[in-house]
Symmetry: C2
Subunit: 122 residues, 2 copies
DNA sequence: TTGTTCCATAACCAGAAGGTAATATAAATA
DNA sequence: TATTTATATTACCTTCTGGTTATGGAACAA
C-alpha cells in the first residue's frame, strides 16, 4: 500500500472555484464527505461513464480538493477540504457587503445622482 | 436615471462559482468593493479591450454578483455580494474537514488497510 | 495461465469560454 | 446638427470543457 502526490500545492483559487463550478463535482465532494470512495462507487449514482468520473476526479485533484490512494486495484478518493478554507477566506473579505443589502437599491439610486467615485484596482 | 434588472435570481452555485473562477472577474469584484465603477473605469487597469470587460460583467451579472445602473451614457456596475453568502453556506458544510488536517495522511494510510467504507451519494 | 475487475489513457466531438476588431447605438457636447 | 463619449453587439478565432467509446494495464481470482 502506498500514498502518492504528497505536499498538495497551495490552493489556486482559479482551479478551486472552477472545480466547484460543476454540479457533478460538488456532488462528488458531498459524497466524499461521508467517506472515501473508489472510482466505481462514485460513478454508480451519476449516470455517467467511468472515464467521465475519472476526469472529474482529476480536476478535483488538481484543485487540491481530493487526494488519491492506492488500495489493490482501487484508487480511492479522499476529500481534502483545505482549499475550501482558502476560498472562504477570499469570500469573507466581502462580508461587509451582504449584511447591508437592505436599502442597497436606495443606495444605488442615490449614488448615481452624483458621479461615480474613487478607487484604483489591482 | 433608472434601475434595471430587479429581483435578482436566487443564487445559482454553478454560475457563482464559475464567475469566481476567473482572476479578472475576481479583480473586478475587489475593485467594486471600493465603490461602483463604469465599464471604462474597470477596463483601464486590466490591459484588455472594453468588450472583454463587458463580457466579464455580463457573466458576473448573470451570477447575481453585480448589478448595473444607468447614469447618462454610463452603466455603472455595483457589487452585490449576496451570492457569495450562498457560496460560503455551501462551503461551510465541509468545515469539519479542514480542522483535522493533521494526521490526515495517517488516517488515509490507516483506512486503506481496511476496505473502503460506507456511504450512499446524492 | 486465464479470465475478471478496476481504473487510466487516448482519440474524438460538440459546445462553451475568453479574447479580439469592427461596428452600432445612445446620450452628452460643441 | 455634427461630434465625441461610453457602452453594447456582432462576427470571428482559438482554447478549454465535459462528455463519449475504445483500448490498455495492473492486480486479484480461478
Amino acid at each position: 500500500m502506498e500514498q502518492i502526490g504528497y505536499a498538495p500545492p497551495p490552493p489556486n483559487l482559479d482551479a478551486v472555484f472552477a472545480a466547484l463550478a460543476d454540479p457533478t463535482r460538488r456532488a462528488i465532494l458531498s459524497r466524499l464527505a461521508q467517506g472515501d470512495a473508489s472510482v466505481g462507487e462514485l460513478a454508480l449514482p451519476f449516470k455517467m461513464s467511468q472515464p467521465a468520473v475519472s476526469k472529474h476526479l482529476k480536476v478535483l485533484e488538481k484543485a487540491g480538493l481530493v487526494q488519491r490512494g492506492i488500495d489493490k486495484q482501487r484508487r480511492p478518493a479522499r476529500l481534502n477540504a483545505e482549499p475550501m478554507a482558502a476560498a472562504i477566506d477570499w469570500l469573507e473579505t466581502f462580508r461587509d457587503f451582504w449584511s447591508s443589502s437592505f436599502d442597497q437599491l436606495d443606495d444605488l439610486l442615490e449614488s448615481l445622482k452624483k458621479q461615480t467615485p474613487e478607487g484604483d484596482p489591482p
